[in-house]
């Protein structure tokens, strides 16, 4: 059977507003929710939507991201008729093929998509926390006989100027696009999710390239070009939980929200599971001195201290008389004894020595970087 749909997950961005947390790793590989990395949501959505051909476009600091995704086996994508493929910039006779923007990243991977020869291409971002059935969006795309469908969600009017907003007519056809407008005409924000008819998109990308007009970015160049040519562009409204964890505060917030047992994301829903690269580690050990309330703990953890309203990712150690509140602790962090951590994000493999205090505020979340050591004996002086 012919491949109907290929998904391209754009995972090459740096996410510079995450500061220390994206210094060594790409944003889609940033840990989330105890057992996941951000890209798991897009990958699991693909798997659950029945899309088994997935290109993961990586560029910035790709080591951890690439090894996390592998061949997609953890998401069930290593099938005889589908696979996850890491797509990285490469050099060729035409020069180096680094990706200059979202659309350019797809242009550089035309060969990959053509090899699959799909009818439709779903463009996704690897940066967002949400559950969405792309199949439903594809059905809508076909019903509207669209050449491009853009996933949108209504945002509060006061926030609309932070997004690319879509102005639609009564039939949900997009008639105007404004990128981060001062005076938004609509509150339908683009989620960075697009479904294109591949043949048409390819023609745009190739023709414009030939005329030395590069369509670098979907928002800035491709959508305006489609609008100019009066293509059938439709908005597909999504009304679930969707979060761009682009800043330290939003990453912290999203993790704190995730703790709520009634969270809209419903992480325990067996019908739409979020898969990940699962570490093979020991059970979680909560000792006699442990006190754990309103928290999520993951396998491999050893807890001898007190944990309140926090997430401990896998293989975290918390020593005696330590107190962790309103914090997100990434995998393999070691927290010593008599440590106090509040409103903080502790990076993977960080080591917080005995007696250290790390206290943030809601506006300024404290961050300890990956493998960073805090407190204890220092020989720097």
């Amino acid at each position: 059977m012919k491949t109907e749909t290929v998904a391209m997950i754009l995972a090459g961005g740096q996410g510079s507003r995450l500061g220390k947390l994206t210094k060594q790793i790409a944003k889609p590989a940033v840990p989330f929710g105890g057992n996941y990395r951000i890209i798991d949501f897009a990958l699991s959505n693909c798997a659950n939507s029945g899309i088994t051909d997935v290109g993961v476009v990586t560029q910035y600091q790709p080591l951890i991201l690439n090894s996390h995704v592998g061949n997609g086996a953890n998401w069930g994508l290593n099938r005889h008729d589908g696979e996850a493929t890491i797509l990285q910039p490469y050099s060729s006779m035409d020069g180096e093929k680094f990706f200059k923007g979202t659309a350019h990243a797809v242009f550089q991977n035309i060969d990959f998509i053509d090899k699959k020869d799909p009818e439709y291409v779903v463009i996704l971002s690897g940066d967002h926390i949400y559950k969405m059935d792309y199949q439903k969006m594809l059905d809508y795309h076909k019903e509207q006989e669209a050449t491009l469908t853009v996933g949108v969600m209504p945002v509060p009017w006061e926030d609309a100027s932070r997004f690319g907003v879509m102005n639609t007519d009564k039939t949900d056809r997009i008639i105007e696009f404004q990128e981060k407008p001062e005076k938004p005409k609509s509150n339908l924000a683009s989620m960075g999710i697009y479904i294109f008819n591949w043949a048409r998109l390819k023609k745009y990308l190739v023709d414009n390239q030939a005329k030395n007009r590069q369509l670098t970015d979907f928002g800035h160049h491709v959508i305006p070009a489609y609008l100019r040519n009066n293509e059938a562009i439709y908005a597909y409204s999504f009304e679930g939980y969707w979060k761009d964890v682009g800043t330290i505060e939003s990453l912290w917030n999203a993790n704190m929200e995730f703790l709520d047992a009634e969270h809209e994301l419903d992480i325990r829903d067996r019908n739409w599971r979020i898969y990940s690269n699962n570490p093979n580690t020991t059970p979680q050990f909560l000792t006699e001195s442990a006190k754990v309330t309103d928290s999520m703990i993951t396998d491999g953890c050893y807890v001898a201290g007190e944990v309140e309203h926090s997430i401990l990712s896998h293989s975290v150690k918390v020593g005696k008389n330590s107190y962790i509140k309103n914090s997100f602790i990434m995998p393999n962090a070691v927290i010593g004894e008599n440590v106090r951590i509040e409103k903080a994000i502790i990076g993977e493999g960080a080591h917080i020595h005995d007696g250290t205090e790390i206290i943030g505020t809601t506006d300024t979340i404290e961050v300890v970087g990956y493998d960073e050591e805090v407190g204890g004996y220092s020989d720097e002086n």
Partner: protein, 392 residues
């Protein structure tokens, strides 16, 4: 270090005294330590020597075992260039069929083909009821250094550490060389509780040729291919048989009590670290899961949990497997609760083993003793009035 070895796992193990937990599963599939099954331990030992294949001999259907092992990829037993898990099921040991003409299986042939077709230098025999974490590379080095024909793993224990009527054996060492094995004792003949014995852990390495010769003897004498018999064949043939001492954590899983105790042992950090962190990392079938959520009023004291649980009540000194829900007001002490079980509000459990998918209704109470924990079979429902609707 990759060692050319042909591992044979004899999983036809005595499971009578572990019922009802073994009603529908072999000993090798017994859930252990929140997220493991006993087979994970010998398999994880095999990863230490990068074994690429293993032969399993099991009785009965072994559905739970197949489901757990799948292709064996978790333990490196699946590759496109050879190796793999070779399963021989519905095996009946010759001993069970003594004096009958029923036996038509390929018991000896299966052993012969697996070993003779492998490119191994050595044959390794293991089971799953000796819960331990063995570093096989050290065993092989010892075997080679001693230029031994056969080497058997043992551990020094007290006689009382195993059942009075234990079917296991202990080693008798040679008077001239304390590392050389001269014979075997049946443990049920030894009655002094405090006596130190060298427990035959029923794990053994032999040179391929030696094994094949013994296999021929076993066929001639219509005997089972067990470590006990192979030791005897070796001694009869004047081969050198050495004992290799294991000093890590060991529990012989031979009845409900030892099974319960082994789980409870893990709540002691020394035991836990000895089994999980001193030798090979213990690998099990990977499962996708969410972190475990502990509610605002949960009270936890010395407990191990797997992922995917929701805990709102009070839990002490217990081992909790995946997808267990313990409601607010419920209390669980000194218990083992397997996957998919649900404990409703105000239920009280003390010294209890719940097999998978047991439902404890609101206000129900079950209390066993440390020596006799109450075992509730898979899929049972426990009502507040004390009535138990039995599952399998």
């Amino acid at each position: 270090m990759r060692i050319k070895i042909a591992p044979i796992l004899n999983l036809v193990e005595n499971s009578e005294k572990l019922k009802p937990l073994t009603n529908r599963r072999p000993v090798a599939s017994l859930p252990f330590g929140c997220r493991y099954r006993l087979i994970d331990f010998p398999f994880s030992s095999l990863t230490g020597i990068e074994a690429s294949s293993a032969a399993l001999f099991i009785a009965g259907s072994g559905h739970s075992l197949y489901d757990h092992i799948r292709s064996g990829a978790t333990w490196g037993l699946e590759s496109s260039v050879g190796g793999g898990v070779f399963t021989h099921s519905h095996i009946n040991l010759k001993a069970e069929l003594a004096d009958t003409e029923l036996y038509t299986g390929n018991y000896y042939d299966d052993h012969y083909h697996f070993v003779s077709r492998s490119n191994a230098d050595y044959v390794l025999l293991m089971g799953s009821s000796m819960l331990s974490n063995i570093q096989l590379d050290s065993l092989v080095r010892f075997h080679e250094k001693k230029e031994s024909d056969a080497t058997v793993i043992y551990k020094k224990i007290k006689r009382k550490d195993v059942r009075k009527d234990s079917t296991h054996t202990s080693l008798i060492m040679s008077e001239n060389d304390s590392e050389r094995i001269a014979g075997l004792h049946s443990l049920d003949e030894l009655t002094d509780e405090e006596e130190a014995v060298l427990l035959n852990m029923e794990m053994m390495i032999l040179d391929k040729e030696t094994f094949l010769n013994h296999l021929y003897s076993a066929r001639q004498q219509q005997k089972d291919v067990t470590v006990k018999n192979l030791i005897q064949f070796s001694l009869d043939a004047d081969k050198t048989v050495f004992g290799y001492e294991y000093t890590g954590y060991l529990k012989v899983i031979e009845d409900i009590n030892s099974y319960y105790q082994a789980n409870m042992d893990m709540l002691n950090e020394d035991n836990f670290n000895a089994l999980f962190y001193r030798a090979n990392p213990v690998l099990t079938k990977p499962k996708n899961s969410a972190p475990t959520y502990y509610g605002k009023k949960s009270e936890i004291n010395n407990v191990q949990f797997a992922n995917d649980c929701e805990i709102y009540g009070k839990v002490q000194n217990s081992i909790i497997f995946r997808k267990v829900n313990i409601a607010e007001g419920a209390e669980v002490n000194n218990s083992i609760i397997m996957q998919d079980s649900y404990v409703e509000e105000d239920a009280y459990l003390n010294y209890v083993i719940l097999d998978k998918h047991v439902y404890v209704k609101k206000g129900a109470r079950l209390e066993g003793t440390p020596e006799n924990p109450i075992v509730v079979a898979k899929d049972s429902i426990i009502y507040a009035e004390g009535e138990i609707e039995k599952g399998e």
